[in-house]
């Protein structure tokens, strides 16, 4: 059934200050719409509960990519097409560039924004595992000012985030402190492109003589929120990747994840695939694959 457009209102504030003011004046009333690749799908299916929408597409303040000595700061309104095309991101944060290329078709990537991907808070979204592995921070802004939180604190529960009702995602900060780390990123879906992932994993590690000095890992589609695999990181740190370590890590993973049964896959299948991807990740990073 087609939605009836006359029942919806959309305001285009035109700049960030006006958008924040509108959000603050009636908290929770105005739903931001950036690329619309989530919101418009809901709307067209008649499943969008909000009637009042606020257009944030193209707000210049949300669309900058800044390279500073200690971070690459990506505006929340940047599209995945822009992220893919950015040289510094491709060079230093290639896992994010790769996942950007997985976010649906070219037409979808031209509209889909980073903030929309995070605020939508799907556990199957493609960018979160890379952001977790890179220890990203997110900058939130409201009329009250800005605050910065580790991305690990962004997702509270299924489709629930730490954003307050008057806040927008201003930017995502990627710290530039991982020179020399190796990375691993993989999406398991029915097809490579344009399919929702069954398991999506990103990791980076500092490896010396086969020993994992340090490692950071994120996994999506295996729990109500994208997971940073901190317990596994601790377990692997300072050790060689061998059958014992892999068995321990797989056990830890099994305890951490809570995959779902749905039309796409069963719980057992997702558990098995998650374990296999983790194993492949450890072996690849250690150079023993």
């Amino acid at each position: 059934m087609r939605a009836a457009p006359e029942q919806y209102e959309m305001i285009s504030p035109g700049n960030l200050a006006a958008a924040l003011k509108l959000m603050a004046s009636e908290p929770g009333r105005w739903l931001p719409v950036a690329g619309g690749t989530e919101v418009m799908v809901q709307y067209s299916a008649g499943r969008l509960p909000q009637r009042n929408l606020m257009n944030v597409w193209g707000l210049p303040e949300l669309r900058r990519i800044e390279v500073t000595p200690d971070a690459v700061v990506i505006g929340g309104g940047c599209t995945f097409a822009e992220i893919r095309a950015h040289k510094a991101i491709a060079a230093e944060f290639s896992m994010l560039a790769k996942t950007a290329a997985w976010v649906g078709s070219i037409a979808n990537q031209n509209r889909a924004t980073l903030a929309g991907n995070l605020a939508n808070a799907s556990p199957a979204a493609d960018s979160p595992p890379a952001l977790l592995a890179y220890e990203a921070e997110i900058e939130l802004i409201s009329v009250r000012g800005t605050r910065r939180i580790p991305y690990t604190q962004c997702h509270l529960d299924y489709k629930r985030t730490a954003l307050t009702q008057d806040e927008l995602i201003l930017a995502v900060r990627l710290p530039r402190r991982f020179a020399g780390w190796r990375d691993y990123v993989r999406k398991v879906g029915t097809r490579n492109a344009q399919a929702i992932s069954k398991v999506c994993m990103a990791a980076q590690a500092l490896v010396q003589d086969g020993v994992v000095e340090a490692i950071r890992m994120g996994m999506g589609s295996v729990a109500p929120v994208p997971l940073r695999l901190a317990a596994i990181e601790e377990c692997a740190a300072g050790r060689k990747v061998n059958a014992t370590l892999i068995a321990e890590c797989r056990q830890l993973l099994d305890k951490m994840i809570a995959p779902i049964d749905d039309i796409r896959s069963t719980i057992e299948y997702r558990r098995l695939v998650a374990g296999n991807v983790l194993e492949d990740c450890l072996r690849t990073l250690a150079g023993t694959a």
């Binding site: 457009p5 209102e9 619309g36 037409a107």
Partner: protein, 161 residues
């Protein structure tokens, strides 16, 4: 709720429409501007039948509230060539048999056009990616890929002249 006056440039001509801001660009193009070349397949961003160019990039017009197209430059299939003088991409689809029922064709051609604007000599792999959001139930895609390659060759030889 109230209508808004929206001005946009469609196929090089400035157009003004009174529309509800959440009307889909697709519907405004087809119903208010009479540009029925742009098709609706799925209405949810999966098939690419509604592809148009907005400010130079390929988008699915079924997912765009018309308020977001205000002041934008839109190009639809009608803006590419005319029956008398087809665009090289249109001509290549015709010659290579890249179109059967035609439902996917306008979107497919817009995606191909956009690809060739950014990449004059795409590989098969790049063509697959560029057209990956455009589904076709008829052709099996091979003739479409061949048409894009033919259009690229034609553009190259025209540029050389």
């Amino acid at each position: 709720m109230s209508l808004q006056r929206i001005v946009m440039t469609v196929n090089g001509v400035e157009r003004t429409v009174d529309a509800h801001p959440m009307e889909r660009l697709l519907d405004v193009l087809r119903e208010k501007l009479g540009l029925t070349g742009t098709k609706e397949g799925c209405g949810e961003g999966e098939c690419g039948a509604c592809s148009v160019l907005m400010d130079g990039s390929l988008v699915n017009s079924c997912l765009i509230p018309v308020a977001q197209a205000a002041h934008a430059q839109i190009v639809t299939i009608e803006g590419l060539g005319s029956p008398e003088k087809l665009d090289p991409v249109q001509e290549a689809f015709l010659h290579c048999g890249g179109s059967q029922c035609g439902m996917c064709t306008p979107g497919m051609i817009m995606a191909a056009k956009c690809l060739l604007m950014h990449n004059v000599k795409p590989s098969r792999e790049e063509i697959r990616e560029g057209l990956g959001g455009n589904l076709c139930r008829c052709t099996g895609y091979m003739r479409i890929f061949e048409a894009v390659e033919a259009a690229a060759r034609k553009q190259e030889s025209e540029a050389a002249r």
